[in-house]
């Protein structure tokens, strides 16, 4: 089944975060598949402070809506305007062009390795 990029770390709510600075945050292929076609993204504003494990936005598909949790605490420095304009990219490339926002990280939340996330999701 699905392979999750080993360089990323994950949350049980199906977000991923990389190790760059600022850190890039997105949702996983598992989330994208479960949602169906993403049609609307609500992301935190640039400059907003986010707290790990709290709801910071919404991701909406034709069929359902789910909340976005921040995997890390810090300050949002950029959002993916291309994904807001055309959310289909989240389905097409959730670990790449479908990234959601970038954070200047002050602290991390509870994060899983790719292997742990794979076990968590049963993949």
């Amino acid at each position: 089944m699905a392979e999750f990029p080993a360089a990323l770390r994950y949350t049980v709510e199906h977000e991923w975060v990389d190790t760059s600075s600022p850190a890039v945050v997105g949702v996983t292929s598992v989330a994208a598949e479960a949602l169906g076609d993403v049609v609307y993204l609500e992301l935190p504003a640039v400059g907003a402070s986010v707290e790990a494990g709290t709801v910071i936005g919404e991701i909406e598909s034709t069929k359902s809506v789910s909340e976005l949790y921040s995997p890390v605490s810090g300050t949002v420095v950029e959002v993916n305007q291309a994904a807001i304009d055309d959310p289909a990219v989240v389905n097409a490339d959730p670990f790449g062009a479908g990234w959601l926002f970038k954070v200047e990280v002050s602290s991390e939340g509870q994060l899983l390795t790719a292997e742990e996330y794979g076990q968590h999701t049963g993949h």
Binding site: G36, D37, Y40, E42, E58, E60, T62, K63
Partner: protein
């Protein structure tokens, strides 16, 4: 444990995501909700609807039995035609919405929603007592495959021969006829072909014995593919019927609703001769002002309303209704919803709010349906 349709293995082989619905394990989507939705609007979609209930009512008293059991007039349906109807309780509550096909002078097929089929079958049996009519629930032996979309006629007509070609080509909306389809494996199957559907597009629904379901499904997929047909799941079916303003039992209709609130009073034939279950309650309901009315809502923002969200008065935030179905419309590009609201806020053009997870989004009352297919 959800039941599996005769096409379950086909869905698995096609990589469908499966979901429980009305007691059945059904394909939610094969690839993409949006792609399946758009294929039905632009070309064609193939749906497994084998979860639906097929209940036959036969006998010289079948029409009279159905006239007593349902709110519509079965006796008024011509052989080979169909009618949308409802079965109500004594208090006028909708137990299910149905399509009634008259397949012979003394033979009717009643198609019920999956989750309600056992109840409808037992109510029909009970209500037929005293009439010369036999009720037979054939749901488990019957598969239902729908081909929906502008290419549906060409696809189905391409699989029949002789007189059946003209039968398919000239079949009117809400008509039905047996036709013999040639299968890809060389065999044939006789289906009851009906020009009905739940998508807002032209299309056919094909009732066949469960044993022929797989061969027919594969035949239709192969024949339709060059014309743009794709298999489509319940997710697309739901967004298609919502755009077409069609009610879904459990959302727009339930046992707290009479046909009048749902804007479907036309299906209640108070002018028919004889008593029917629910008549007294529906007669008085018809003449009293409804406390709520089903309306269409168009979202002015981007965030769609979903079933269960409160409708609120603009400004005051006072609750004035509830959303019954809602989604971003793939065809129209803006959020659409159906909702029950108080009558004073039901006029076209009325602005209301919907509480979308704690934040009020602006919506405006619009006529149903949201989408009408282009007429040729």
């Amino acid at each position: 444990m959800d039941k599996k349709t005769p096409l379950h293995d086909e869905h698995e082989a096609l990589g469908a995501s499966l979901t429980g619905f009305g007691g059945w394990l059904m394909p939610l989507r094969y690839t993409s909700d949006l792609a399946e939705h758009r294929a039905v609007r632009a070309a064609a979609g193939l749906f497994d609807l084998s979860h639906m209930g097929e209940i036959w009512v036969r006998g010289t008293g079948a029409a009279a039995a159905l006239d007593h059991a349902l709110v519509g007039s079965a006796a008024a349906i011509a052989v080979g035609r169909a009618k949308y109807s409802m079965i109500c309780a004594e208090d006028g509550a909708v137990l299910d919405d149905l399509i009634v096909y008259r397949t012979g002078d003394a033979e009717f097929l009643v198609v019920a929603n999956a989750g309600n089929a056992p109840l409808v079958a037992s109510e029909l049996a009970e209500r037929s007592a005293g009439f010369d009519a036999v009720v037979e629930d054939r749901s488990d032996e019957t598969a239902l495959i729908a081909v929906q979309g502008p290419q549906a006629e060409d696809i189905v007509a391409g699989l029949v021969a002789g007189d059946d070609v003209a039968t398919v080509r000239s079949m009117k909306y809400y008509a039905a006829s047996p036709v013999t389809l040639t299968l890809a494996d060389g065999g044939t199957v006789t289906a009851l072909a009906a020009r009905t559907g739940y998508t807002g597009e032209d299309g056919f629904e094909l009732f066949v014995p469960s044993s022929s379901a797989v061969a027919l499904w594969r035949t239709l997929l192969a024949a339709g593919e060059p014309l743009g047909l794709v298999p489509a799941g319940l997710s697309a079916r739901d967004s298609l019927r919502l755009e077409a303003g069609m009610p879904l039992y459990g959302h727009e209709l339930d046992t707290t609703t009479t046909p009048y609130e749902a804007g479907l009073g036309r299906v209640v034939r108070l002018d028919k001769v004889g008593d029917f279950v629910g008549r007294a309650a529906l007669e008085s309901r018809r003449h009293s002002a409804p406390s709520r009315v089903l309306v269409g809502l168009r979202g002015l923002g981007k965030r769609p309303a979903r079933a269960g969200y409160p409708v609120v008065a603009p400004g005051s935030g006072r609750p004035v209704g509830t959303v019954t179905s809602g989604a971003p419309s793939p065809t129209l590009g803006y959020p659409v919803a159906m909702a029950y609201v108080t009558p004073e806020l039901s006029a076209e053009g009325t602005e209301v709010g919907v509480d979308v997870r704690g934040r009020t989004e602006p919506f405006v009352v619009v006529p149903l349906p949201f989408y009408r297919r282009p007429q040729h």
